[in-house]
Amino acid sequence: MKKLILSALCVMAMTSCETQKSLYSWYDSEDATYMYTKRATEETLAKAMAQYEKVISKQEGLRKVVPPGVNAEYGYLLCKAGKKEEGLTLLRAEIKAYPESEKFISRIINQLEK
């Protein structure tokens, strides 16, 4: 009986301290976008875009899907860099993955298609 109580208490104590795995893999994207915000140069932009590519192509978080907004942000940057079709495809992918984004992203797509 004592053993059982001891085991139960141990389990409870352990679970109260458990850490949760991330929903998404972010890699260094937070740092890269921060550096781009801090100093917008071609170099910081290239680093941010490389991180977006990684986040999109390699997801190892709990959800195994691209985080909200990343397809859209990377697509938007590609459009601004002259890669319009590639960018629009990613913007549409954002709506497909997250239908709740449609109102905002459709507005952006319409502006870019003009």
Binding site: L9, S22, Y24, E30, K38, L62, P67, S101, K103
Partner: protein, 224 residues
Amino acid sequence: MKKYIILGLVALLMSSCAEQITRLAQYPKMYEEKPLTIAVMPPINQTNFVEAKDYFYTTLYAPLCEKGYYVYSPMMTMEMFQAESAYDAELFIEGNLSQFRNVLGADAAMFTIIKSWNRNKIGGSLTAGVEYILRSTKTGETLYRREGLISVDTSINSGNKGLFGALVDLAATAINTAATDKVVAGRKCTLYVLSDMPEGKYGAKFDQDQNMPAGKSYVKATVR
């Protein structure tokens, strides 16, 4: 010996559960409205650190996504806010938010007020004080509000004793503190303060975290 272990574990469990308020009791409107989409508003900066507004903005996106919410792309929304004269969140913090629902489709808007952001080279710390307010774009109600004063300990302790050791540590602490980007304090503050926020639709504990403990509405802590 077993008695002591059991007593220790019971004490640990009791102390971790003492006087804790549940998330449902602390943030009932979060569970009533169940917002999915969040627009992060440009921070309101009450400090002399002029870049704080833009820098701090970048710290909010990932933690809110990790809480299970759909968060609009910070770069795209910031451009839109600037183009539509919505860069000053002071104008909206107590006003009508329906336009953010109509234009973005946002269920809620996250406002932040940066109250302090300091670097202490001698003591070896970076401190950020920020209030987080999530308001519904549908009802205008405050769904979540919490404030934190979070210090990041950047001190170095080499373990060397004596006056020389203390001087070396002092110099190393000053260098380490100066070399650490101030944004680190902002990031830690956001992570710490939002840790008790109820999870959104994409979170693993969505609609199952009502009985989990909520933190105090004002939190002060030091982290590494």
